[in-house]
Symmetry: C2
Subunit: 341 residues, 2 copies
């Protein structure tokens, strides 16, 4: 008889944890299942039934490759839950279920994997979603970046809700729920190669309370969370989809002191940096004050503000500076910060 070592003996992930046999089962039963206990439907089944209330079923997916895996204010686990929860939330849906894929690199510390999975479970519970399906693969050392995650989300949306780029009209107002760039800079500072350390936390959080607070406004046209590519990316998306220009008011855009000073030091533009807990909303002018008020009544929306307008009078994304001048915001070509989400 062979001796049968157990995963608990292993401090680091081995290829055998990915083979479909006993080690893989133990990885799932001992590392994943207990930490997802309240959020997991069934680890055994090929496919599971999803009880869903009446409404439109909404679907989205995202991959996560953030480096380092843990950073001030979050980790790849909380990011993978909130990222997909937020894509459902900004589409006007209530997130219900997630699937989870983990690509684990041989040699990853089991203790770190346990921390990330625990964070993932907590974040799912807080956001009110269940991890309803999952899969793990183990890849060889040098063929992965420690851990990559993918989550796919299912939610339900009231049949009356219609949001979209096609609903945006000339003169609509652009709101943002809080300061931009925190996530990008927090992750960057967590990378040792920059030699900088900050107190700044990622804004990684569910935006569901924010989106639900404004869903009832008939003038709500469109919402999006400014992740990869940041605020500038969303402005360009609106411009491309509508053919109208975007006028942004630079002094109005909320940016933390710490973010602004790191950006100045290293030459980044905070408008291109990822947020992971903010919402950009386009709203008819008549509803803008009440929408802002609804956001400001929430802890995560206290610094919500109007930052610009959609306008037929312009063709580009133009930013009015504090001194009254104008500068054009280019579309992003190069990657200011790779592996930020």
């Amino acid at each position: 008889m062979n001796a049968k070592p157990e995963i608990l003996d292993a401090k680091h992930i081995m290829l055998a944890h990915g083979n479909g046999g006993r080690f893989m089962r133990e990885l799932i039963e001992r590392v994943f299942a207990p930490r997802l206990a309240n959020t997991l439907l069934d680890v055994q089944a090929d496919a599971v039934p999803l009880p869903t209330p009446d409404g439109e079923i909404m679907f989205t997916t995202d991959g996560f490759t953030v480096q380092p895996l843990e950073f001030p204010g979050g980790d790849i686990g909380s990011l993978a839950v909130n990222g997909t929860v937020n894509d459902l939330a900004v589409s006007g849906a209530t997130p219900l279920y997630l699937s989870l894929n983990a690509f684990i690199e041989e040699g990853l510390e089991v203790a770190q994997l346990e921390r990330v999975v625990a964070s993932l479970g907590r974040t799912a519970t807080e956001a009110g979603v269940k991890i309803a399906a999952g899969d793990t693969k183990v890849v060889r050392r040098g063929e992965g970046g420690g851990l990559y995650l993918a989550t796919t989300g299912v939610g339900v949306r009231d049949r009356g809700i219609r949001l979209g780029l096609d609903r945006i009209r000339d003169g609509d107002v652009i709101l943002v729920s809080g300061p931009v760039g925190d996530h990008g800079i927090a992750v960057m500072l967590a990378r040792e190669q920059f030699g900088l350390h900050g107190e700044l936390l990622s804004d990684c959080a569910s935006v569901l309370p924010l989106t639900q607070a404004v869903l009832a406004f008939p003038g709500l046209r469109f919402m999006r969370d400014p992740t990869r590519g940041g605020l500038a990316m969303i402005a360009h998306e609106i411009r491309r989809a509508t053919g109208m220009g975007i006028h942004l008011d630079e002094p109005a855009i909320p940016i933390r002191e710490a973010v602004a000073s790191v950006c100045e030091m290293l030459g980044y533009d905070p408008l291109y940096l990822a947020c992971e807990g903010r919402v950009v909303a386009v709203v008819a002018p008549a509803d803008a004050p009440a929408a802002l008020q609804a956001w400001r009544a929430l802890p995560q929306g206290q610094s919500a503000v109007m930052i610009g307008r959609v306008t037929k009078a312009k063709r580009f994304v133009v930013m009015q500076t504090a001194l009254g001048g104008e500068r054009m915001l280019d579309e992003l070509d190069d990657d200011p910060l790779p592996r930020i989400c």
Copy 2:
């Protein structure tokens, strides 16, 4: 003004293709969208609505890391579609929608990515599923294995259908829809390091016609597709879940000559090798002959056969050999063939 190179200029994937900006949009618009045209709902939205007929909504997910990315009979694209389609099919559902995550390594040849995405699109069309959501991430050279995919599937199941390990009874019959081990050996032979070349094709295919052919039998207890860990893994799953033993009839198990001889040469047991287009079904004895007949009437089920029984009289997974002896099939510990799916 900067010169603005386009993705079509690039023969290999660059990090900038993952940054959320113009290059990523071009990657999606030029490489992914056209090849998924008939199967794609919307590449722009954060989340998309899924129109679903009445029934239980079924959910599953799987990750794919096969190496090499292309092999005789399939590639990582066809595998990623069929793998998830098959998990829905064996649960008794009709697959409707997939999400797709691609983790692309910097330096991957764009032409190869285009072939894989085209295959993925064709396979989805054949299986009758739409790619309803997608995301791409680009990771640095040396932090990925060329391309990893994850797919999450949504299907619908008639409310009357109840399949599960808990429905298995003493004396139930085990059927397999075709020869085992083809996929595992085909992928292995495609790896240059073995110095072997064969004509063997992977069995990678949708099993939906097979599962739909037997769904109406009241004696159908449970179905599964023998992927990672193979037939032996399923036998152990049934044993663990039911507490009953499994009696397998070795000479009855269909194995192609080519698979058997490669296994003999390299010391593999074909019962542990992955299939990607076979079904194992557990059926009440009364329905077994008709279920077999239904499978044999299909092109992909012509060599379907009964291979064993579930029995209270045993506690292990036991195989009766051609000579009348018995040997125990251990649960898989080590990985016979990593990155097979």
